[in-house]
Amino acid sequence: MKGNIELIKDGKRLDGRLPGDLRDIKIKTNVVKNAQGSAYIEWGNNKIIAAIHGPNEALPRHTANPNKAVVKCRYMMAPFSSSEEHGRSGMNRRAVEISKVTGEVFENVILLDQFPGTEISIYIEVIQSDGGTRAAGITCAAVALAASGIPIKDLPFSVSAGKVGETVILDLNKIEDNYSDADMPVAVLPRTKEVVLLQMDGSLTKKQYTDAMALILESGKKISKIQRDALISQYSQ
């Protein structure tokens, strides 16, 4: 284990979770009235707003594709969102990369050819962060997208798995992310089990990778249910 912080004690993690436990997740839809669709997620101590705009005319014009809609995705952390010092405003390299891979997830699920020449904007604003914000952001944006009515082929979920010592754990929080031996955020289409986002760094044996993927797929059932329940409850209020 990196550093000298004991992340697992007597089989339990610092916040009392077992290795395969998720943090509590709450999702609410239609929190941004001016958006086509939106959602707010509380995932442990993470708080994230996702909003969908469009399909609108793609601007500037040269970004338009005559055959299909283009997806423009922006993931950003608010400068006040972390427990450490004030962050710099605007896009850093990390945010550029996360925006890119997140946008690619949604290019996969949106039926883009139904809206040629248009753009669909996905905004993910992290207002409080505690590790795993890209996964929580994707899970939240998927609900926002479904709430927008834009046709999609599946409702992706995302969660990360990792490793502390030789123990594979699910859903790393900030301190675990900082001191763990591996971190692997993954997004999956639940119907087909296709992997649409995969990143990893640290060290994993093939066996640990397989175990981590199994934890992610198993937890996906819970996450998918929370996503669906949020969408259903917007019509039952």
């Binding site: 390299r93 990390r94 550029v96 990369e97 925006s99 890119k100 891979v101 690619e104 997830v105 290019e107 996969n108 900082n178 692997m184 289409l189 087909t192 089990k193 296709e194 992997v195 649409v196 986002l197 995969l198 990143q199 990893m200 760094d201 640290g202 060290s203 994993l204 044996t205 093939k206 990778y209 397989t210 993927m213």
Partner: protein, 258 residues
């Protein structure tokens, strides 16, 4: 033009043939040249087929990061030179350029290539290692070429001396390293999985995945593009990576003597 190429390639894929007639799981010829830039503390050029990446490494005095006060630090960047591809333009880094730099950066960090603890000088002073990838010609698979060039440049990299508050760049020592890592990148097109895709194949691909490893463990992964991979695909590609990386590590060892 790309549309015509795509159509041609699709027809060839249907016949089980690649852009350049390779088997699906083989690399193009790989050539590594070290120390082409004597003014840089470390440098390497990697050619994979027509892809050509130059990595130059400079080592300068630097302040440690606040969370690692006793460690040296590393910064990685990628320049997609406009000369390297019709599609590259002058201007700030594109999202792809940022992704390339960060994927290579994470691979090097996760594998612990640099022994950063040994780059400590005195309180508040450490060596900073600047890894700059120059893409000289793009014919696909910049991830593997970029990582190979960067690791080779680090393995042959020197560190200046620091005496009486001055940096002395003559009679330098070797950069302390403790591991080597390489990556294998695959593209997927209509259920074909292809190692080391060319630029034409990348233009046609639905998805891409880069798997970095050392002799024992997976060190880094990055899936890119809007397509997907099945769990079975990924399983197979991890196994192929462990197999193919032996050759890549051998190329590094043969050239750097590590």
């Amino acid at each position: 033009m790309q549309l015509i190429t795509n159509k041609f390639l699709k027809e060839r894929f249907a016949l089980g043939k690649r852009d350049d007639d390779r088997d699906p799981m083989t690399y193009r010829d790989i050539k590594l040249t070290l120390n082409e830039i004597p003014n840089a503390e470390g440098s390497a050029i990697v050619e994979i087929g027509n892809t050509k990446v130059l990595t130059g490494v400079k080592v300068d005095l630097s302040e440690p990061m606040s969370d690692t006060p006793n460690d040296g630090n590393m910064t990685t960047s990628a320049e997609l030179l406009p000369m390297a591809d019709d599609n590259y333009d002058v201007g700030p880094p594109t999202p792809f350029g940022v992704e390339l730099a960060r994927v290579v950066d994470r691979a090097i960090r996760a594998a612990g290539v640099i022994d950063t603890e040994k780059l400590f000088i005195e309180e508040g002073k450490v060596w900073g290692v600047f890894v700059d990838m120059y893409i000289l010609n793009n014919d696909g698979n910049l991830f593997d070429a970029g990582l190979l060039a960067s690791v080779a440049a680090l393995l042959s990299c020197k560190v200046p001396k620091y005496e009486n508050e001055t940096v002395i760049r003559e009679a330098m020592g070797k950069l302390p390293t403790k591991n080597i890592t390489t990556s294998c990148t695959f593209a997927k097109f209509a259920d074909n999985l292809l190692l080391d895709p060319t630029a034409n194949e990348e233009a046609l691909a639905e998805s891409r995945v880069t798997i970095g490893n050392d002799e024992e463990v997976i060190r880094s992964m990055q899936k890119g593009m809007s397509g997907s991979f099945s769990m079975k695909d990924l399983d197979q590609l991890i196994d192929v990576t462990f197999e193919k990386s032996k050759t890549l590590r051998q190329i590094l060892k043969n050239n750097t003597g590590d």
